[in-house]
Symmetry: C2
């Protein structure tokens, strides 16, 4: 058991190097990439389904879906209008940079403006593996409970954007939004937060605007000119 720590360190370092190669490749292709992380069932795929059709007019969206098994999520992303590639991890509890590297090789990056990488549903392990994406988006959901920032501080600390999904369930569950927000603030002061329901569409507009603003106009212009 004593060998565990050096091996983990070595893996993390190798991962970071490949993440950096991924980032360079994305930047050179003019692709903005978001890493969606969440508990199982919090609504990563539903958020993709809500987001992609709304962006279709102004940009082309790619999705890399990471899952233990099945290609269900990639099929949903494709139906929503994205160009999707599925990574079936076969048991691995997170995506890592080499997996994303292989998926990038299967995507027509020159035809994509925004790439969403949908990580494996897990609040723990994905937080430790950089992928080369430009921003980490955490999708939380109301029925998971207001204690999650307190219990999973690492992932809340490491994200750039928080989406709180399933607010349509607020009347039916015990979820103290103030307690939740207090926990988030203590870990990640000023974290950009969107409170919405993928099911009803409530609150989705500001999130769509945020995504739109992430993709530089230069990309759209370059595409229009081509």
């Amino acid at each position: 058991m004593t060998v565990q720590i050096p091996v983990v360190e070595k893996i993390t370092k190798a991962n970071d190097e490949i993440a950096s190669i991924n980032r360079t490749q994305l930047d050179e292709a003019g692709v903005v990439a978001l890493n969606f992380m969440a508990s199982p069932g919090a609504g990563k795929t539903s958020l993709i389904e809500r987001t992609v059709p709304r962006l279709a007019e102004s940009m082309r969206v790619g999705v890399i879906g990471g899952d233990i098994a099945t290609t269900l999520d990639a099929e949903r992303a494709t139906r929503a209008g994205a160009t999707a590639v599925q990574i079936t991890t076969g048991g691995a509890c997170h995506l890592d940079a080499p997996m994303v590297r292989r998926a990038l090789q299967q995507l027509p990056l020159d035809e994509i403006d925004l790439l969403v990488v949908e990580n494996v549903g897990n609040l723990i392990c994905p937080a430790s593996f950089a992928l080369g994406t430009h921003a980490n988006v955490l999708v939380a959901s109301v029925p998971e409970g207001d204690d999650k920032p307190y219990k999973h501080p690492r992932i809340y600390r490491g994200v750039d954007v928080l989406v709180v999904n399933k607010i349509d369930l607020l009347p039916y569950v015990d979820f103290d939004m103030e307690r939740f927000r207090r926990g988030v603030r203590s870990l990640n002061e000023g974290l950009e937060t969107f409170v919405l329901s993928c099911r009803t569409g409530e609150g989705v507009e500001p999130w769509i605007d945020w995504v739109r603003c992430r993709v530089p106009c230069v990309t759209a212009t370059a595409r229009d000119a081509s």
Copy 2:
């Protein structure tokens, strides 16, 4: 990266050996132990809160709570009437047998009939680590979605009992119980399943009866005689 697999195998083997020591210790003390696994927020702690007070008349309950951070769950278990010990894993994404071994040393096993080990909220990694407990209980929840058996086959295959929690939310979410059950059946035919709501108490009775039947009468008799 090539060293990863042998190291993982070595860790799993060492884990299994300690799990076996844990099992012997539990058996010698006449303690029946359940390993509760679930996504974050599916309701492991709520199930403990619903279960412990109902068992208090006939048996003494211990809880080992595993969490990344905070002792919130152990406090809730204690308030429910259990003797609780918290394992704060400090980042580890699952409990393993050595962690449970250390926790067992802090519990008065001679005074406990039923032990609930509340694993870290994660559908993936906990499935790979035996703890020495007598049965694996998976707590699923309705708002997570009906696709979870398909997406997390390993954990569904490896459990002895399934609790489907939060059925009070069925009218407010898109959850096809027949699709969910079909997925479960394809992985674990005949899996003992309890469909309930920890919030309203609906469906809790058959689950309580099941737990009660797991703890052999001999334990209660031995205690009564002492």
